[in-house]
Symmetry: none
Subunit: 415 residues, 2 copies
């Protein structure tokens, strides 16, 4: 049996005008997918009652079993969602005196005087119900109409998440008997999407039709997601997982939700090694990714951003003669930076970048995008050069991801 379908409707002119990045669509899509729904589509509309009304009707008529909206439940004039939903569903909203009293109590408890527009938040559908908002004023509105469930959530992501966990998800679990789909994620680095697809093409060709493979490329590498409906025998699924694992083993840095920075920290910890970083063109971005990981401090000792050449000499011990002869963006300087930062911090592994992020500073021999990477470990130092395409920020991002990828490859090779 195919999984029941759900759709998501996000409402707000700040979204269609690009003034704000949506954060609810992804959350709801992930939660619904994990429960076993298939998300048919996500639609984003401006605060405009004609568009909204037409969009809601279309989405209902598509026959999805669950339709969630987020946004437009406030008290200002552009908040239309509640009224338009009621109208489209042939229902009415009425002020609930008990909900109003509850909201008054909530405000009192937080030391806030009552608000003139508070009754706007106490509107309840006569044929639906209001789901309490544990951290804000606007409750969610919830309807069960025939086979369909419709729920209008407020806009702030923290409120959406609170209502989802406390009341909406439990209701959906009760109403639908869902089998969570099977899924497994492999994360690879050091191989392009196209080479990976060649590597696994024979296996992919024999994959049973109910097992779906998808590629998730990012700057750090390519993720492979394997998925199957929840009623597929687990052994069948695990057999494919295991075959794929063997095929991609040389490039596999993690399984599940683990970043490359985290995989590197885990590998260093396992080997009893410590880390220091010397960044020139990446200017702190590599350290920033490392430090995002909880527990980084037991492996990561510190880093230097040596933007000025004098800093490369004083803090990293790069030779002034070499800087003079070869220039800051050169193989020898990358090596000396990686080894120097190990000495400076007393670390066992050093990562170094030196390059030209642009937009200026390039030359025919060293065009913008030229980056030298150095990786020093107790077993030796390697250096590699890449010419990375894109504008300044893209070059920096690519160089940061590549530095992590190369570090992982070096650590893996030394296993």
């Amino acid at each position: 049996m195919p999984p029941p379908e759900a759709s998501i409707l996000l409402i707000g002119s700040e979204l269609t005008e690009g003034r704000l990045a949506d954060r609810n669509g992804r959350f709801l899509a992930e939660e619904l997918s994990e429960m076993g729904f298939r998300v048919r589509e996500i639609r984003i509309f401006p605060d405009d009652d004609l568009s909204l009304r037409a969009g809601m009707r279309e989405m209902l008529q598509s026959g999805v079993r669950v339709l969630l909206s987020a946004g437009g439940l406030g008290h200002t004039t552009d908040d239309l969602t509640a009224q338009v939903w009621a109208e489209v569903l042939g229902d009415k909203l009425e002020v609930s005196s008990s909900l109003l009293a509850e909201l008054e109590g909530q405000l009192q408890a937080r030391g806030i005087p009552s608000l003139p527009y508070l009754d706007r938040y106490a509107l309840v559908p006569t044929r639906g119900e209001a789901l309490p908002n544990p951290i804000g004023l606007a409750p969610a509105l919830y309807w069960e109409v025939g086979l369909q469930v419709i729920c209008a959530l407020p806009g702030p992501p923290a409120e959406v998440q609170a209502i989802w966990h406390t009341s909406l998800k439990p209701r959906l679990q009760k109403r639908f008997s869902l089998t969570s789909p099977l899924h497994h994620t492999f994360r690879t680095t050091g191989i392009t999407e196209s080479r990976l697809s060649v590597l696994i093409q024979e296996w992919e060709a024999q994959l049973p039709p109910f097992v779906r493979l998808s590629y998730g490329p990012s700057l750090e590498g390519v993720a492979l997601h394997l998925r199957a409906p929840g009623d597929v025998p687990i052994e069948t699924f695990l057999k494919e997982v295991e075959t794929l694992r063997q095929l991609i083993a040389p490039y596999l840095y993690a399984e599940g939700n683990i970043s490359l920075a985290e995989a590197i920290l885990n590998e260093l910890r396992r080997k009893g090694l410590t880390l220091a970083i010397a960044e020139s063109c990446t200017g702190g971005h590599i350290a920033a990714q490392i430090v995002n990981i909880a527990g980084a401090s037991d492996v990561f000792l510190g880093s230097v951003v040596s933007y000025a050449n004098s800093a490369k000499e004083a803090l990293l011990g790069v030779s002034p003669t070499v800087l003079q002869a070869e220039g800051a963006v050169s193989e020898v300087v990358a090596r000396q930076m990686a080894e120097g930062v190990c000495r400076t911090f007393g670390a066992s592994v050093g990562i170094a970048t030196t390059g030209i992020a642009g937009p200026t500073g390039g030359s025919p021999e060293k065009p913008v995008g030229t980056v030298w990477f150095g990786i020093a470990t107790p077993k030796g130092t390697i250096a590699k050069r890449y010419i990375l395409p894109g504008d300044r920020q893209t070059v920096i991002q690519r160089a940061t991801a590549l530095a992590l990828s190369l570090t992982w490859q070096v650590l893996r090779a030394e296993k």
Copy 2:
């Protein structure tokens, strides 16, 4: 005359399954809105040819003048966009030998051997054209059909942006005679959204109805956007811009699209000052934001991430006695780090952070989220403490933004 309408279609099961947050919808929505289009809707579909085909037809039939899609232009089996667009538009794709040769050349220039699937990227619509991708393989596909423009862009945000600026936007500008709406953005820091709204409420109450004000809060501060239709007399609009400018002057760090890091670099450059940074809990994030700005190198000399206490002593000259007595997260250490990093790099201004990002390491006196900031300038050193809410990454992000905000406030006060 109402503005012409545009819609955006984002394609990828990784989006409808919530595995990836979209970054193209907002970019395209903002760019189209700024050009003078009204974005009618943004729709997100999975990689599924039936949904895609139906969705594309519906969106075309809605009569929008511009329809842009992003995603699904790779060479793997789940990349369906090009084929489905061609089918829906009654067109065909054919391998262009000249494009194929160009792509081979691109790979060669980057020292990469040819790819087995390269011809997939050389497919060109017979009744449309391919727009070159300056930083990736997949070109965009572009059609003009009757009154409508359809363009299929690849998925990676950097490629979407590069193609937009180099070829898609110029084409749209040529084809549509648009009146760009009037808009002006003020960027403030050091004041909350609610205090700002009180500060400007009298002015806001008398605003003519065709001038729209909206708030854009972020970690760095609050942006104020003023907007009016393109046919409003410019003097009327500029009068309101000027009044608002006066009201918020003490908090205004920039007008237009300028980040706080860029405003700080500009201010330092104007004063002939140089910058160095000492980061503990922010671990490179402040330097990373500074380095993202083109031309940072003439002001920014470098930074140290002193995760280990020994690095605070050796590289920044923090007193071991103070570290022992007060702990690393303390006012004196923040001051010594800021002053020390100025000495280390020979810089005139130093920014320092030391704090507990969590999830562990907190205590009753210094709970998780405690961060001390130090700012040293030629006129003296200040230190401030904040207790920031949220998980590890949120604390790091807030501390990074706050360090920049405090630096700007100190520089502004010293004017």
